[in-house]
């Protein structure tokens, strides 16, 4: 178990810059998820931490050791791959013991470790099978067993669940989290799935275009996104982005003008938008902050109701997603199923702007932190 620090890491392939100066640091025992769309450089970053690729510049520290000059085998790491990368010619037992054998662990010790790992992951009946005879979930377990066998300082996971079907993925996700809590190991976990990132990580780094867009705790990233990219990437369904004009003054408070099928109304906000009065900003509001009207909430300062047309209803079970339109933008609301309006009719929606965020329409950067939080 060890801490991990990445300092000003850059990587170029020819003239394309894949990583543009990455700085990250986690403490021993923390679970870091690297999340971003495909091509954002997250796998390259993981490969550099593993020593499988060399950075153009920058440093990687595992614990108090600079490992830049060390090969993958000397970094005391283990890695689980997306396609599991089990050796097809070896049975499960050999797959797990191969790394031990390479490190000249005595045979008796090897057997003890295999037993321990197999018990922990419940793969004892599979030990004599070849990878081709295993199901996807079983391969996944074996791949994790291979990583666990060596008891390394740092675990690296490269999208380990993306080849599994939806249900198995949820189960394995929980198991990985449980394993982490039980063993307390340091883990770096790459995924493009923001739900995996949110549920697993102590710390999340959102990567895009080779840069860390935001590095923080899951709740921080969800509630206080640094820019429009992070806000849109994290959360499902995605945050609504509504362009709107700012009215009001510092004294009376600020309002946002909304137009929906000819009806105009103003949403009040507590954010400091003084510099934007009379201009357009992007309102970022999550679907769960637009709901059916709950009378008890209407008294809160930045909550108000408005009549909106229902363009689409998508029942998910616990909630129904209602699509409406504001300022010619598609807007998603999350309402209680029995409160959902009928298709083509109007329904009253309640907007809670206490957690709303604002972005510059051109740069996508965050604007006007909420007054209460800025104070």
């Amino acid at each position: 178990m060890s801490s991990l620090t990445v300092k000003n890491l850059k990587k170029s392939f020819g003239s394309t810059q894949v990583l543009k100066g990455i700085d990250l640091s986690i403490e021993a025992g923390q679970f870091l998820t690297l999340v971003g769309p495909s091509g954002c450089g997250k796998s390259t970053l993981l490969n550099i931490i593993a020593g499988l690729e060399t950075p153009s510049t920058g440093e990687v520290w595992i614990g108090d050791r600079n490992v830049n000059r060390l090969g993958p085998k000397d970094r005391d790491i283990a890695m689980v791959f997306q396609n599991y990368a089990l050796y097809p010619n070896m049975n499960v037992r050999k797959n797990i013991s191969f790394g031990l054998e390479m490190r000249k662990v005595p045979k008796g010790e090897q057997d003890r470790i295999i037993d321990r790992v197999a018990r922990m992951l419940q793969i004892e009946p599979l030990l004599d099978r070849k990878p081709a005879q295993l199901s996807g979930g079983q391969r996944q377990r074996v791949a994790m067993g291979r990583a666990l066998a060596r008891d390394p300082k740092l675990f690296l996971f490269d999208e380990p669940l993306s080849n599994l079907d939806a249900k198995l993925r949820v189960n394995m996700r929980a198991e990985i989290k449980e394993l982490h809590q039980r063993l307390g190991t340091t883990i770096v976990y790459v995924t493009h799935d923001q739900i995996e990132a949110m549920t697993l990580g102590d710390r999340i780094a959102v990567l895009h275009n080779g840069e860390v867009q935001q590095f923080g705790s899951p709740s921080d990233i969800y509630e206080n996104p640094a820019n429009r990219f992070v806000a849109g990437f994290i959360g499902s369904p995605s945050m609504n982005f509504i362009p709107c004009e700012v009215t009001g003054s510092p004294v009376s408070g600020y309002g946002l003008t909304m137009v929906s099928e000819g009806r105009e109304f103003v949403l009040k906000t507590g954010a400091d938008l003084q510099s934007r009065i009379g201009k357009t900003v992007i309102l970022g509001i999550r679907p769960e902050q637009i709901t059916h009207v709950m009378a008890s909430h209407l008294e809160e300062p930045f909550t108000c109701a408005a009549t909106c047309p229902v363009h689409l209803c998508e029942p998910t079970g616990p909630d129904t997603l209602v699509t409406t339109s504001l300022n010619q933008t598609k807007v998603l609301a999350r309402v209680r199923p029995d409160a959902a309006g009928l298709l083509g009719q109007d329904m009253e929606l309640m907007f809670d702007l206490s957690k709303a965020v604002f972005f510059d329409p051109d740069t996508g950067s965050r604007l006007g932190l909420p007054l209460d939080r800025a104070a």
Partner: protein
């Protein structure tokens, strides 16, 4: 395999036509082999009297015995040539393929491209320079020299085979092995080679056939007692002295063709499988 499409089943006539066509073609290709086999077990008198396709009245293996006596030494020459040449060219091809796919370096693609050109160089173009080179290394007229020629000429093909096969092996296998602590050679020996049998079979069949059937290199770079069987066969058939013994010629030709035939019969289905195998599932 012809899968029956809907509607096709009700056309027995078309089906019959297809089979007739296939059988006819097969017979056309097999006829020469049949004539050779028939002729080789006839006596010279019978050959002179009968026609090509008539069955032998008194089958005899005398011609085979005579042919074997004449060809035996050269048969072993060919075997001594083929076994090391196939083994070495396959081994190096496999190693080349491993490096070119899993340990790429700056210019490795260019190197591979240049190596590919080797597949398109005709035999005749390298005859003279190769003869000179063999002379300078003191290998002219030796079996070792001929092995070297076949290894060098075959490398382009074997490298191509293995490289394309290893492209289908996931890179993660190599990464996982590196993290597990295995080095360059250990990975090759313990992970990559054990996954290679399908392509090894392809490569061995290809090289065996090429080298066993080669005539030009054999006639150019070997002499007298060290000649391979193809050259010896040519000498036997083309003798201008004495009576032409067609039955012995045919038996000798069949002897010369037998090993490649056996290899195909034994490993033919792996050949097709290996050629089409892209990736190893696992």
């Amino acid at each position: 395999m012809i899968d029956r499409l809907p509607g096709e089943a009700s056309q027995p006539l078309a089906r019959a036509a297809i089979y007739a066509c296939l059988v006819g073609t097969a017979m056309y290709f097999l006829a020469p082999l049949l004539v050779m086999a028939l002729t080789s077990v006839k006596s010279m008198d019978e050959i002179r009297d009968g026609n090509l396709l008539s069955l032998p009245l008194e089958p005899t293996l005398a011609a085979w015995a005579k042919a074997w006596a004449k060809m035996r030494g050269f048969f072993w020459n060919s075997l001594l040539l083929v076994v090391p040449a196939v083994a070495i060219s396959t081994a190096i091809g496999s190693f080349n393929g491993y490096v070119l796919t899993k340990w790429r370096f700056r210019g490795s693609e260019t190197l591979f491209g240049m190596l590919l050109v080797g597949c398109f160089i005709p035999f005749q173009a390298i005859l003279l320079p190769m003869a000179r080179a063999l002379g300078q290394f003191g290998l002219a007229g030796t079996t070792a020299g001929l092995v070297a020629v076949h290894v060098i000429y075959g490398l382009a093909f074997t490298t191509l085979f293995f490289r394309n096969f290893y492209m289908g092996l996931p890179d993660e296998l190599i990464k996982a092995a590196r993290i597990d602590g295995a080095g360059f050679f250990t990975i090759f020996w313990r992970i990559v080679l054990p996954l290679s049998p399908p392509i090894v079979v392809v490569c061995v069949i290809w090289q065996f056939t090429q080298i066993w059937n080669d005539f030009l290199f054999g006639v150019a770079y070997s002499s007298g007692e060290s000649q391979p069987i193809t050259v010896a066969l040519n000498n036997l058939v083309n003798t201008s002295t004495g009576v032409k013994e067609y039955n012995v010629d045919m038996a000798a030709a069949l002897l010369a063709a037998l090993p490649t035939l056996i290899v195909y019969v034994l490993a033919g289905k792996y050949f097709v499988k290996g050629l089409t195998a892209g990736a190893v599932k696992g």
